[in-house]
């Protein structure tokens, strides 16, 4: 049996949607038994949500005021302790998981595989390299624990419907005080989460200003979509960093992706290539975004956006 520990990401008492995708990934490991670890201040709701995920055998709940807000240096020694006896330790390839999991791997003296796209067997998996210009097949060492981050865009979330037991755990681990949370700024409001939204409307540099960037909100509202941005738009200050889609931002796989005024640099395309349907609106018919778009519309976005909104 392959015992798999999935580290739960959560905030404000809610389980991050990426966790259901990590469980989906864990289920593809042959003969897996899946445990979800919730490290939180109290974590009751998060643990209950994790316990409901199909395929989860049990949830370990480590309640400790030091666990929120999440700091890798504080969580890592606890996760390493929980990981004992597990063949795999998985976390999402979000900034939370990318920050935490290598620290866990080092404490376990285990190798890490980043951005797992698929397990071909219990010892073989696939992951992207070179900004996803190459897909590597990687063979894992036998008889050694492996840490991995899961490329969430590659997996469909498991549904809720299970009812795994939640086991409170007390860990005898010394936690460092040398890292301290100060603040976080977030301004998502009530829009869907970019990383897991079914529809995403993204704006690029062609929008021309932070003021104009708001023009895509109307279309996003009509579609019930999350808002994203190209690196160029973020660098120019039109949109905040957390909206960046692409190699160094978020890698997403929505049902519908609408790129507005985005030329389609390779790093941006890396972030959207798993989208089911891509729509591109751009005035330059030679823009690389049209090479990957299912539907391309060449024209002035400032006149096209209101037209499209009216037709929806």
């Amino acid at each position: 049996m392959n015992r798999v520990l999935v580290v739960a990401e959560h905030a404000d008492g809610r389980l991050n949607a990426a966790v259901a995708k990590c469980v989906a990934c864990a289920r593809t490991i042959p003969d897996s038994e899946i445990t979800v670890a919730v490290l939180a201040k109290d974590g009751g709701e998060v643990a209950a949500a994790a316990a409901a995920l199909e395929g989860v055998a049990r949830v370990l709940l480590v309640a400790n005021p030091s666990n929120e807000p999440a700091l890798a240096a504080v969580l890592a020694p606890q996760v390493a302790k929980l990981a004992e006896g597990h063949a795999f330790v998985l976390g999402p390839s979000t900034t939370f998981g990318k920050d935490l999991m290598p620290r866990v791997a080092a404490l376990l003296d285990a190798p890490q595989v980043s951005d797992v796209m698929a397990f071909e067997s219990a010892t073989r998996l696939r992951r992207p390299m070179y900004a996803a210009n190459a897909i590597a097949t990687v063979e894992l060492p036998a008889g050694r624990s492996v840490v991995a981050t899961v490329r969430v865009a590659s997996f469909q979330a498991v549904p809720a419907g299970g009812k795994a037991p939640v086991e409170p755990v007390t860990l005898d681990v010394e936690l460092p005080a040398s890292t301290r949370f100060v603040s976080v700024t977030a301004a998502r409001g009530d829009r869907p989460d970019l990383q897991t939204a079914a529809r995403v409307v993204s704006g690029g540099r062609a929008l021309g200003s932070a003021e104009n960037f708001k023009l895509i909100q109307g279309l996003a509202d009509k579609l019930g979509a999350a808002i994203g941005a190209s690196r160029a738009a973020v660098d120019a200050g039109y949109a905040p960093n957390e909206l960046q889609v692409g190699q160094t931002g978020k890698i997403i796989a929505p049902e519908l992706y609408v790129a507005v005024g985005i030329s389609g640099a390779i790093q941006h395309l890396t972030g959207i290539k798993d989208a089911r349907t891509i729509v591109a609106i751009n005035k330059d018919p030679e823009a690389p975004i049209f090479e990957v778009a299912d539907y391309g519309l060449v024209g002035d976005l400032f006149s096209l956006l209101p037209e499209i909104e009216k037709l929806l």
Partner: protein, 249 residues
Amino acid sequence: MRRILVGIKRVIDFNVRVRVRPDGSGVVTEGVKMSANPFDSIALEEAIRLRERGEADEVLAVSIGPTEAQQQLRDALAMGADRAILVKADAGLEPPAVARTLLKLVERESPRLVLLGKQAIDDDSNQTGQMLAALWDRPQATFASKIEIQGEVARVTREVDAGLETIEVDLPAVCTADLRLNEPRYIKLPDIMKAKKKPLDVVELASLGVDPAPRLKVVKLEAPPQRQKGVIVRDAAELVAALKQKGLV
């Protein structure tokens, strides 16, 4: 001596369109331009700025890789690093081994801050900084977009999924640079000449007692599946009709 240690990895240049070899054994490197990993250049720029602001006395650039990586270290010296060390190793050293090698240098050089790129653009692992911090048993501040040093504490703003997070870490610590930390300066010709006089030491990986054996095996590389080019629609009405037909809106 308040020292900042910066890691520099030699990688295929950012602007090169990477191609997988037909036999799947790797990517094409013949005649391909090599450069410092862009995130490492950002880390170096930040270290130089910290020294210029009086928060550091020395910037030490370190590369772990082939002999040719001396070129990237010369560039680092021209940019403003004070000295450099090349640890000679085969390409393809895995992040845990890189972290252990850096730890050996950290023990020798006692830096106040280690600044690395958040990831290298070849293997895209995003592991080394965090692993070094764990092995060193020191704090980490990854994905930094702003670094302020106040006495023995660094206040770091991080680019996280939710937005911008600020944390405080006691020094020494490991910090990894994200895209918007700064824009690295261009190297000027006189600086290249001056850099030739700066010290660049070469040490063998074996002399540091680090086991370079990989634990993972890359069996093959493949080019990713290409998306099919779609259709160009005439106008907004045709677009919306097509999306409605597919049940997407």
